[in-house]
Symmetry: C2
Subunit: 478 residues, 2 copies
């Protein structure tokens, strides 16, 4: 082997292996529906099939591909199964996979406009499209003082928003001299754990995050927010950030963003609206009335096409009203990144819009998805998911044994068996162990609640109908 002049894969082999892998994925999509959704392996079982050390000599790609079936597949929990009703989905689609493939093939890193202008400009354009597609405020468009950027996840978007709010509240003194323990932030008791994480990361301290009380729809009570802010100001503290949920993780609760936004304006606090899951539904005009209400007050907003717009994880879309506030929070210009395009001021360098320096060409997959489906196709599938959730909710309502815990605004149904927490836990465990469907739980009003989250790309009525049959059977068997 030692006289080889290259270990690269010859181009013809790449073609053949590439075709084979495309076929593997096509076959996977045709069969995923019949696989146990939640992986059944025990801890350590996958590792035990892997050799203890890396191979000294290269292996054939045929061997590698055969190990996908033998080693990897048993350890997959099938997020792309139409029987996926757990957490929120991380859905994908064929055009999105092709977009990821092209992104990998081009292999560009778009930290600066100059390091691939198409990576930056396609992203700006597609994110401007989405403002119109979702009926969002025109202030989020790149021809205003605002703009959008793709982040990996809503966790990173939230962190970026917290930091911009922190810097605005302290006139960039936190960036300069560090936090001083006086900053406070606000969210509802239902906010996603990423808010807590961001507040810790940003040096604000979790004890300075006020969890505001909720009403009986699990939405934030604005007057409780006002009281908390006024108390903090009276105590000499500095409010810097408010998070409002549009579709909370536990129950799809929708905070009153309009009222919260007016409060934030009055006290000059950064308002971030987290619509990670539910934001995609705004592509259907009929849902905008409650999804987009009050967004004219939002300093930043995010939603995840990788949850419910058929675009592979990771892809979070993040908008700000004042892009300069965000850029000033992050920007640094070491000599080795200086370049003419940046210094001309005529371009966007997205590296100043997020935590990381480097970035993948994620706009391709989003562009492929939007062009393949068209607005019409995206609306069709979103409406179908919501319709299926509402049908499912009707079945629950008609049942003697189950109840709806909170009215489902969109595609997440929170329900429970009337037999108590232990019964519900057993129902869920049995269903997930049987493997025909996968669903998860939360706690609301101190009760264990089952979550039926309907948003996997390929979920159709027959999958939801069968899930309901299985749920009823499980309840009877236990």
């Amino acid at each position: 082997m030692s006289d080889k002049t290259s270990y690269h894969m010859p181009v013809d082999e790449f073609r053949q292996r590439g075709y084979a892998l495309i076929d593997w994925i096509a076959d996977y999509f045709q069969h995923v529906e019949s696989m146990p959704v939640l992986s059944r392996v025990e801890p350590g079982e996958i590792r035990a099939m892997l050799p203890p050390s890396a191979p000294q000599h290269g292996e054939s790609f045929e061997t590698i591909l055969s190990d996908i079936d033998r080693i990897i597949l048993p350890g997959i929990t099938h997020w792309q199964s139409p029987n996926w009703f757990a957490f929120f989905p991380a859905n994908s689609s064929e055009p999105s996979i092709l977009g990821e493939l092209l992104s990998a093939g081009l292999g560009v890193q778009g930290m600066l406009w100059a390091t691939s202008p198409a990576c930056t400009e396609l992203e700006t354009q597609v994110l401007d499209w989405l403002v119109d597609m979702l009926g969002l405020p025109a202030d989020f468009k790149s021809n205003s003082a605002g703009g959008g950027v793709i982040q990996d996840t809503a966790s990173s978007a939230t962190l970026a928003a917290v930091l911009a709010g922190r810097e605005r509240a302290t006139q960039f003194q936190s960036n300069a001299n560090g936090c001083d323990g006086k900053l406070v932030a606000y969210c509802s008791t239902q906010a996603h754990s990423s808010i807590d994480k961001a507040i810790k990361i940003a040096g604000i301290g979790i004890n300075n995050l006020r969890k505001i009380e909720i009403d009986d729809t699990f939405a934030m009570q604005p007057m409780a927010l006002v009281s908390a802010i006024e108390q903090d100001i009276a105590d000499g503290l500095v409010p810097c950030f408010v998070n409002a949920n549009v579709g909370s993780t536990s129950s799809n609760a929708i905070d009153p963003a309009e009222h919260i936004g007016q409060i934030c304006r009055r006290f000059n606090i950064w308002l971030h609206v987290d619509a990670a899951m539910s934001g995609s539904a705004a592509i259907c005009p009929e849902f905008r009335l409650f999804l987009n209400k009050g967004l004219e007050y939002a300093d930043s907003y995010c939603f995840n096409p990788h949850k419910w717009l058929f675009t592979n994880f990771d892809c979070d879309v993040f908008y700000v009203r004042d892009r300069q506030a965000l850029i000033d929070t992050f920007t640094l210009m070491p000599e080795y990144l200086r370049n003419k395009a940046t210094e001309s001021g005529a371009v966007i360098d997205y590296r100043d819009w997020h935590i990381q320096l480097g970035r993948r060409f994620r706009a391709l997959k989003l562009w492929f998805v939007i062009r393949h489906y068209g607005i019409e196709g995206l609306q069709f599938h979103i409406r179908q998911h919501i319709r299926l959730a509402q049908i499912f909710a009707d079945w629950i309502r008609a049942s003697q044994d189950f109840e709806i815990v909170v009215e489902p605004p969109l595609n997440l149904v929170c329900f429970r068996h009337l037999g108590g927490d232990a019964k519900n836990q057993k129902i869920m465990d049995k269903l997930n162990a049987d493997g025909h469907i996968y669903l998860t739980h939360t706690r609301l009003n101190n009760q264990l609640v089952l979550r039926m989250s309907i948003g996997q790309t390929k979920t159709e009525e027959r999958h939801v109908r069968r899930a309901w049959e299985l749920i009823q059977e499980a309840a009877q068997d236990i």
Copy 2:
């Protein structure tokens, strides 16, 4: 169109479009060498070719693919060209692209062990392999108190290290109550801008980041570090984090990690070693003597397979000596993520190892690369790049008109024309505008310096030889 029951791409069409895209990528690799490396478009030129709004009705995938050539390709700066000598590379390879494709096809999100055990266990195993492959301390392996995780970029890894150091120094009081303005951190004047960014994000404040003086190899002076730490302690401040470079961005400078590590132990400060670019070279035992020296003192360490181990961006490998310190920094357990596997304590949930909650299945591409090349193949190509850089340095040394600015330890050659800053700037601008090669600059000793960074997967001697001819011609023409 309104009577359609699905807008998804039929499986047979996916196969055909997938094959076509594989062919497109194969053709791209065969032709990329002849394309202008730095994109020639003007600001706004790509956007001007895109429609002002999203299509109402879906478009054919044939149209979409044809737009890749028409709209996207002119706006690509070709990171995968063998004539890429700019910044550091973000290299890829055929097996890595296939790994990305499989990851996109499976579409799993590995936030918890349970949400795809293979995603977690393959990552743990491959990162254990890499400890042996690179001769790193056994304390980084998962069977010790430490362990490894894939981060997106070194920026995120550095931030995670800063946060763990911050929490260790304050007994988790920063997470609880926020920073108090007394924390201080240290790096050399040559450290990457991501250190500055992380210190700002973490609420420590850039004015509390001490930039320690360097010696004539641009490496940190340990005694200057000791002085700074002692002064800060005397001033009532709390040192929490030191960054050591193994291969700085400007010039590949290697900080004396052993000496710095002993200092960190003495003062109980978290030591992070940033080997983002150069770490991959440790796969060749002959380079370990200086690359891995002192790593036994490192609390955390990172290097980027996406830079120089033929693995697509993004893929940063991050190790810690005490995984509990990292997990305790990040962990949160909302009800909706509770599950039996996590509560058993028998599994790793990587969501507690980084900023984000969600995560892609990145280990696949790294596994494919390691298995395809074998240790032998990876060593071969790393050695070739270093050999080419040393040949290039010899040509510079033999030249009348150019000089080496600092001795190149590995594959980055910092050099300049003797004609002064303006001349060097013009040479670089001409070369990049001509498009046959792409290289970038830095400043060292207050002089503009050209950087010849040799690490693109397919770069061979003929590319380096031609680059040198072009550099000499450009110098003569100006």
